[in-house]
């Protein structure tokens, strides 16, 4: 074997330095991609940290829409949406559903009347094992159109330690600098906290894309329209929604219709603050029938992350920038609450008694 000529001491040193530089460049590249060199980049962790700063940390609970209740039932498709999407859920027939109603706040003890918004989350499980998960709110538009603006809105809503309430000057400044919030503000002015989850209708807010058998895309939004609409505001009692739901379900199944709205060319699919004109084509795709309810502490919905990007073949995300941010933030919330449930080191410990606020 021919031994290579020996290297000078200087040469060895240079070669060690070269190896160190190669390894360092790789480490820095990981740092760049991971955002360690850009601490101001918006991440799901920062979004969820801000939710926690606003509402507090309630171990085991979702970081937003923490107060809620599990429901179960099914979706009866009438086949009307089948020409536009290959998703099994739209073929005529029945798909089982596990859902959740909730009140939008990170505090699971917030009074039901604290906000005029309710949410409905659903998981459809198709016979082929694919799933459609959707989280909808009882309002037709979202206040902001980008994750960054949502983060700034959360910052503006953070309670002032002195008063325990958001600083009105900061809130005012936020809304003044975000004119896209005007449609939401106009809606919220007339909205009242409803006395029931059942009487509300729920909007997808974000646009999605249905894909038909020929692969052609159809931009849509959807909403679940209650068969029993009613605008009676709820009482000032902190918890009336669950009792109302239990009582209504004891009388019989509760129904909503899934209306799918198709965009015209040029309608914004990337801006959840803008409603589409009311003359857009609408189809009734079927009936959601909810038959039972369970407290979320032991209901099936507890362990479901209603990530709006868990979609079956035939439904795709649109270019709405809120969708990937929702997906990422929900995953972070899910990891934090399941880690707390597992009592992993470094996670917040669950309290035995609720810390009512």
């Amino acid at each position: 074997m021919n031994a290579p000529p020996p290297l000078s001491g200087r040469s060895v040193l240079l070669r060690f330095a070269l190896i160190a530089v190669v390894l360092l460049v790789i480490v820095l590249a990981f740092g760049y991609v991971g955002g360690w060199l850009a601490p101001h980049r918006l991440t799901a962790q920062r979004l969820v940290n801000q939710l926690q700063a606003n509402a507090g940390v309630f171990p085991g609970y979702r970081r937003n829409h923490a107060k809620g209740v599990c429901v179960a039932g099914y979706f009866d498709s009438n086949g009307n949406a089948q020409p536009y999407s290959v998703a099994q859920v739209f073929a005529p027939g029945r798909t089982p559903v596990v859902g959740r109603f909730a009140v939008p706040s990170g505090n699971p003890y917030a009074p039901d009347s604290s906000v005029p918004i309710r949410s409905m989350a659903l998981r459809f499980t198709q016979t082929n094992g694919q799933q459609w998960r959707t989280g909808m709110n009882s309002m037709p538009v979202f206040p902001v159109s980008t994750p960054q603006a949502f983060y700034e809105q959360l910052q503006a809503q953070q309670p002032d330690p002195a008063t325990g309430k958001p600083n009105p000057a900061k809130l005012g400044a936020f809304f003044a600098s975000h004119p896209e919030t005007s449609a939401f503000l106009a809606w919220v002015k007339t909205a009242k906290p409803s006395s029931s989850y059942v009487t509300e209708s729920y909007w997808s807010l974000n646009a999605f894309v249905l894909v038909d058998a020929n692969g052609a895309p159809h931009a849509v939004r959807w909403r679940m329209v209650s068969e029993t609409p009613n605008t009676t505001p709820g009482s000032t009692d902190p918890d009336y929604l669950d009792a109302d739901l239990t009582q209504r379900l004891a009388q019989g199944p509760q129904r909503w219709h899934l209306w799918v709205t198709f965009a015209n060319p040029g309608d914004p699919t990337n801006d959840a603050t803008k409603a589409w004109p009311s003359d857009r084509r609408d189809i009734d795709a079927g009936t959601l029938v909810l038959t039972s309810t369970t407290p979320q502490e032991n209901g099936e919905c507890r362990d479901i992350n209603y990530d709006p990007l868990v979609l079956p073949d035939g439904i795709q995300a649109s270019d709405d920038p809120l969708l990937p941010a929702r997906s990422a933030a929900y995953a972070t919330s899910y990891l934090r609450r399941t880690s707390e449930e597992a009592h992993l080191p470094g996670t917040a410990a669950a309290q035995a008694t609720p810390e009512a606020k």
Partner: protein
Amino acid sequence: MNTPSTQFVFAARVLHGLMAVMILAMLFIGVGMVASVSERHEWLIRIHKPLGIAILLLAVVRLIVRLRNPPPPLPADLPALQKFAAHASHWLLYVLMLTIPLVGWAMLSAGGYPVMLSESLRLPPIFPVSPIAFAVLRHTHAWLAVLLVLTFLAHLGAALYHGLIRRDGVLSSMIGGRTRGS
């Protein structure tokens, strides 16, 4: 009797090159996707899952190739500690290549997610739905990936040390055309 080869067999060298690219890409994808809320988050996740399963399958093939074709011996004059480090790190790399994708698959199963490799291709769950198992597996997935990054850095550093400083043929036994001792 054959004299021991000075190079890894062709299949081993091809698999090494291919998987090096895939695994390094995978590590960057993993780091990038959890640090983003943009559409990048979504398309990185779409690559992450099928790429992870591809790595798992190739790792199985590679393990078989490795067991059937013993690698060329390390230089006789290599200190015992370095020999041990070489063997231990290689087996650690095999263990990580196989377990990280399996833990990822089990983690999605435990979280109740459908394991979608494409718009329509779904893998069956390999773990019962359990939020506690999800949390443990999700953290395990990340920590094993960190261990893989560190092992990869040590592996690359050692390879360059053999190639640039010791110049003992170990690097060329995997990547070089030149063979040791010829």
